[in-house]
């Protein structure tokens, strides 16, 4: 039980790496930086493996393992320990984080090889991993919030990694500020949590929540409020409507960053949080519905925007947003396990997609525009095949990871405990769109004739330290979903079984409606394989093939004929412009004309200067007393003594 | 009248004070004779010889001379202080003697012990208090005469007295530790026994011979009384006579008497602290020693008689006859048991004091004067540390039994 007793090791390793690289790395040669950066993460991964081994030996009642190391804050009854916990959910998240980040680190050694501030990049990455692990391992909300903010910080730093590029800087700021809006709500949620439950420890909160019947909260609706606030934090962090706008811009950062932070781990923090808080959400049906709705809408709209993007990374970004939407949809309809499952698979194939895209960009010498590509399939076969597999996975073609998870989610949306047919429809259409724009991406990039200048751009396959991670991830994207295979034949899949304690322990008792008309496994398998999701995915594939292989001029004609919606999509529904007009400008105006010129200059400065002036003038009057003549001082002393004596004798009557 | 009867102590004290004053005055007068004689003989001279036999009337002549000298005050002198200074000096010097026990407290009259004026429970402290005031006489004298040399002399002497007072006190503290009291009579009682019980010699359990203490005390005392070799304040060669340069006639005499009185005081103190005060040096068992005083006096009378018959001529012979008969009468009177009992203490006490006075004169006659910086460095860098060390050792020895018993 070494690792489980000393969970802090897992956190400490990346922090150590970050410290070493960040403080001393300037003079290190690349190999040293690599060994430090990758080494720390590799060790963290190993200790994770060890943790899994130890975890597997635990009996059910020993879970979750909670270790409190020291008291961090104490104020009245508000007491926060630095305590970490491990349960099944944590195990899953830990695996995703440590593994993907390890691969990304390896990948970065190739991708960032020629960049300035190499050591800086790696120390940032390690720092990010540290905060992400803190977020995942935290046993109370406050510590979780620390990780939450920390990953935000690291994402800001990494988006603005090329801080000489104006766009990068502003993108970083945008990400930070947009997220902050959600974080504010999240903070309020935490305070409300403490105010309600008098504790910030998950265990305590859940126990109380489980004991209190939902009716107890119903009149005040405080539980719903808490959930909505927390979910607002999730909206900011995992880029849901209406706060998704920062994610596409975040693509200004280096591609590995996009892969790790903005696809695999950080953006899924919201999902993790909601899953972690499931005992509360399960008791707030309205909040659940909101989650599901937001998820479904995001999934759909982001997909639509993705249709027309030409920047390869932008497409992936929007697809990420929509996939996150799916996850929330899953959570919202009560299929927590499915949501988390999709989180995992998505981490694999979306990470793979980004890395592959990075490899493509690498090959193209930094060009990200799909219209300039084409026909790369033979030039960079490994990248091509990996990306192809990933596309199959995300599109939900049977047999690949994405298929299982997405299918489960849609299944739950259709026939789950709190299913909603409209949400299911949205999700379904979104799935079709997904497969369409993904294959569009593939066809535009790898098929057809090269549209770039052969002489200028020398396309070349990436080095091994970039391709090996791709291959590993490709394998996972293929087989990663099979743990859920039994679901197809109506059994509970292994993944769900594994996660079951987390979501069942405090789950509210719901009268299980008798499952209608059990079918034979064979029939179910058939249904699953010929179900709506599969069909619509294939449809999307076909349409994409028709548009971009068979008759490439069709899209233009379509765009001509449907100009209005096309431009609408092209400009992402003018959301940025809307926000700019509706929020940013008024805010600027207020802060300039009211806060700055009125409040700051007149009120605050006025007060301060006034105080100073009063002090100065009174001082220039009073200094006359400082005559430098000690006899006067003596007289003052005597005056004081007389005063005291008069007080004591006359007023306080101490004589008698 | 009833007030007097209420406080008999007043009457007795008054009587004692008057007696002491009379004795003291004559003693002071004859101390000068004594000193001059001793020094003269050390320097193989005759000294005062012609005014009366052996110059015995010399002090009288000096006194007359002092009285009839012109008493002048330097211009611009602060008159009040100028007059105050010598009075202060003499008064303080003589006051200390009120604390000195000349004999055992057993000798009493009207229920008050006779041979001591004021038997204070903290006699030693009082003596030091008064002597410490003695500085003013000299300092003020030097300041008030509004003249360069006296001022320097005054400054020097006050500095010197302050510095040496420290060593003096520290040297004495050892004895205080041993006897565990500040009262003179108790101190003396603590040394009772033969002479090896005196503090200077006694080496017993929890006791440390104060020989070092005595030496420190003696040197400090010499300096304290501004005597040679520490007589910087009146160093004629550089200061034209020091703080009393501007003084003439009887004020000058007062300063001299004050000096002698101080000498007597410190000698008495030394006797009490180190030499067992009025105790006889012999064990109690030697009762025949009680007859030593009369025998000594009679021997003196015999010598004087021989002197009268053989040597003296004219006035001196008459004078000698008076003295001889006086000695004879006193000696015979001492044979009376009552007087014999009374005389024991004072006899030994005065004998010891006289011896120490002789030491005083001896040092003056033999040792050269120090330089001022030598004086200071000697006082601060040698005398003080030695006295401190002596104190430490004494304290350690005293508490040694306790430490040992504690284990």
């Amino acid at each position: 039980m070494f690792i489980l007793d000393h969970l802090w090791i897992i956190i400490a390793l990346p922090l150590l790496g970050a410290a070493i690289n960040g403080l001393l790395g300037k003079n290190f040669s690349k190999p040293i930086v690599n060994s430090v950066g990758i080494g720390s993460i590799a060790l963290a991964f190993l200790s994770y493996v060890e943790a899994v081994r130890e975890f597997s030996q635990l009996s059910a009642d020993q879970i979750p393992v909670t270790k409190s190391y020291f008291t961090w804050i104490t104020a009245g009854q508000f007491k926060v320990d630095f305590s970490l916990q491990v349960d099944q959910l944590t195990i899953v998240m830990l695996g995703v984080v440590t593994f993907v980040s390890l691969l990304v680190h390896v990948y970065s050694t190739g991708y960032m090889a020629h960049e300035e501030g190499y050591y800086r990049f790696f120390s940032y990455l390690n720092l990010f991993v540290f905060f992400m692990l803190t977020l995942v391992l935290a046993a109370n909300v406050v510590l979780m919030f620390v990780g939450w903010e920390g990953v935000g910080l690291c994402s800001y730093l990494l988006i603005g990694f090329w801080f000489l590029k104006q766009s990068a800087i502003s993108a970083g700021k945008k990400a930070f500020i947009t997220t902050r809006i959600g974080d504010f709500a999240f903070t309020v949620g935490i305070l409300l949590l403490f105010w309600t439950f008098n504790s910030v420890d998950f265990a305590a909160i859940f126990k109380q929540a489980a004991n209190l019947q939902p009716e107890a909260f119903a009149p005040t609706g405080v539980l719903t409020a808490i959930c909505l606030l927390l979910f607002s934090g999730a909206i900011g962090k995992s880029a849901q409507l209406p706060l998704y706008v920062w994610l596409p811009d975040a693509m200004e950062g280096p591609t590995p960053v996009s892969a790790l932070i903005h696809a695999a781990t950080m953006v899924t923090a919201g999902v993790y949080m909601v899953a972690r808080m499931n005992p509360l959400f399960s008791r707030a049906p309205f909040a659940m519905f909101v989650v599901a709705l937001v998820g479904a809408l995001t999934a759909f709209l982001a997909a639509t925007i993705g249709l027309v993007q030409t920047d390869i990374k932008k497409v992936l970004a929007y697809s990420t947003v929509s996939q996150l939407g799916y996850m929330f949809l899953g959570l919202g309809v009560g299929a927590y396990a499915s949501g988390v499952f999709h989180l995992m698979t998505h981490a694999f194939f979306k990470g793979l997609l980004f890395l592959a895209a990075g490899s493509v960009i690498h090959a193209m010498g930094g060009d990200q525009e799909m219209p300039h590509m084409g026909g790369l399939r033979n030039k960079i076969p490994i990248t091509f095949w990996c990306m192809f597999i990933a596309t199959f996975a995300i599109a939900g073609i049977p047999g690949f990871a994405g298929f299982f998870s997405k299918d489960e989610i849609l299944e739950a949306a259709r026939s789950g405990p709190n299913a909603n047919i409209w949400l299911w429809l949205l999700g379904l259409v979104g799935a079709g769109l997904t497969s369409f724009y993904m294959f569009r991406l593939i066809f535009l990039t790898f098929f057809g004739k090269p549209r770039y200048d052969e002489h200028k751009v020398h396309v070349h396959e990436s080095p091994y330290n970039m391709t090996v991670p791709l291959i590993l991830l490709a394998i996972l994207s293929t087989v990663g979903g099979w743990v859920a295979a039994p679901h197809l034949v109506g059994r509970t899949d292994y993944f769900e079984k594994f996660l079951h304690p987390v979501f069942a322990t405090y789950a509210p008792a719901i009268a299980e409606g008798a499952p209608e008309a059990m079918e034979t496994p064979g029939m179910m398998l058939l249904h699953a394989l010929t179900g709506w999701p599969v069909l619509i995915a294939l449809a999307g594939l076909l349409v994409a093939w028709w548009f971009y292989i068979k008759s490439p001029q069709t899209p233009k004609k379509l765009a001509e004929s449907l100009r209005a919606p096309y431009t609408l999509l092209l400009h992402k529904y003018y959301v940025d412009e809307l926000y700019n007009a509706a929020i940013i400008q008024p805010l600027l105006w207020i802060s300039t004309n009211v806060l700055w010129h009125v409040v700051d200059e007149t009120v605050i400065d006025g007060t301060v200067n006034g105080v100073a002036r009063v002090a100065r003038e009174s001082g220039s009057e009073l200094r006359e007393i400082q005559s430098g003549n000690a006899r006067s001082y003596a007289t003052w002393v005597v005056i004081g003594a007389v005063g005291v004596t008069v007080l004591m004798i006359g007023l306080w009557g101490m004589v008698r | 009248m009833d007030f007097i009867t209420q406080h008999p102590v007043l009457v007795v004290s008054l009587a004692k004070i008057v007696g002491l004053m009379f004795v003291l005055m004559t003693t002071l007068a004859y101390l000068s004779w004594f000193e001059r004689k001793v020094i003269a003989h050390i320097q193989s001279r005759w000294g005062p010889y012609y005014v009366g036999a052996h110059g015995l009337l010399q002090p009288l002549a000096d006194g007359v001379k002092f009285l009839f000298k012109e008493d002048l005050t330097p211009p611009g002198a602060d008159r009040f202080v100028y007059i105050l200074a010598p009075m202060l000096a003499l008064t303080l010097a003589m006051t200390t003697l009120a604390l000195i026990p000349f004999g055992p407290p057993s000798v009493q009259w009207l229920g008050e012990s006779t041979l001591i004026v004021a038997n204070s429970s903290i006699g030693l402290m009082v003596v030091f208090a008064i002597t410490s005031m003695g500085v003013y006489g000299i300092a003020l004298a030097g300041w008030s005469s509004n003249s360069k040399y006296p001022l320097l002399g005054g400054l020097r002497s006050s500095a010197q007295m302050i510095s040496y007072e420290v060593a003096l006190t520290l040297a004495v503290v050892g004895v205080v530790l041993l006897s565990g009291t500040l009262n003179f009579n108790e101190m003396i009682a603590h040394q009772s026994g033969a002479f090896w019980h005196w503090n200077i010699f006694y080496l017993g359990r929890g006791s440390f011979p104060q020989i070092i203490g005595f030496l420190c005390y003696f040197m400090a005392a010499v300096a304290e009384t501004n005597r040679a070799p520490f007589d910087l304040p009146e160093g004629e060669t550089e200061l034209v006579g020091g703080f009393h340069t501007e003084y003439s006639s009887f004020k000058f005499a007062m300063f001299f008497m004050a000096e002698y009185a101080n000498m007597i005081t410190v000698s008495c103190l030394a006797t009490i602290l180190f030499f067992g005060g009025w105790l006889s040096p012999f064990p109690e068992s030697w009762t025949f020693m009680r007859y030593l005083p009369p025998v000594g006096l009679l021997a003196l009378a015999v010598y004087l008689a021989y002197d009268t018959v053989v040597l003296a001529r004219g006035i001196a012979r008459i004078q000698l006859i008076v003295v001889t008969t006086g000695a004879l009468v006193i000696g015979l009177a001492c044979l009376h048991p009552v007087v014999l009992a009374i005389i024991q203490g004072p006899f030994w006490f005065l004998l010891k004091v006289g011896l120490i006075m002789f030491f005083y004169v001896w040092t003056r006659a033999t040792l050269p004067r120090l330089r001022y910086d030598q004086l200071m460095s000697f006082g601060w860098k040698f005398l003080l540390p030695v006295a401190l060390a002596n104190l430490m050792i004494t304290a350690l020895v005293k508490i040694w039994p306790l430490l040992v018993n504690r284990g």
């Binding site: 006359e624 400082q626 005559s627 430098g628 003549n629 000690a630 006899r631 003596a634 007289t635 005597v638 | -």
Partner: protein, 102 residues
């Protein structure tokens, strides 16, 4: 033999203290002002001894002891300072030593 009431001593100490204050304010010579301070200390000492006597406790006397010792130290330093001041300014008049002003 009757006892002098303690209040007499207290009154005397009060009077002496007041005189000390007056001297402190009225005199110009630094040394004299210093003496005024000593006078006040003495007055306080008298009160201490009187109280100690009143309550038959020795603490008052011990305090007087400490006061005297501290006064010794204080006067040593103070006079040294006065000497330095005199060497620098050639005056003992407190009113002529007024460099430290606005």
């Amino acid at each position: 033999m009757s006892i002098v009431p303690i209040s007499y001593y207290l009154v005397l100490s009060a009077v002496l203290f007041g005189l000390g204050i007056i001297a402190f304010v009225v005199k110009r010579n630094i040394i004299t002002i210093f003496m005024a301070i000593e006078l006040m200390l003495n007055a306080v000492n008298l009160a201490f001894v009187a109280f100690a006597r009143a309550h038959n406790q020795l603490d008052g006397l011990v305090f007087v002891f400490f006061v005297i010792v501290v006064a010794a130290a204080e006067s040593a330093v103070g006079l040294a300072i006065i000497i330095t001041v005199y060497q620098n300014r050639q005056t003992l008049n407190l009113e002529r030593i007024n460099l430290l002003k606005f």
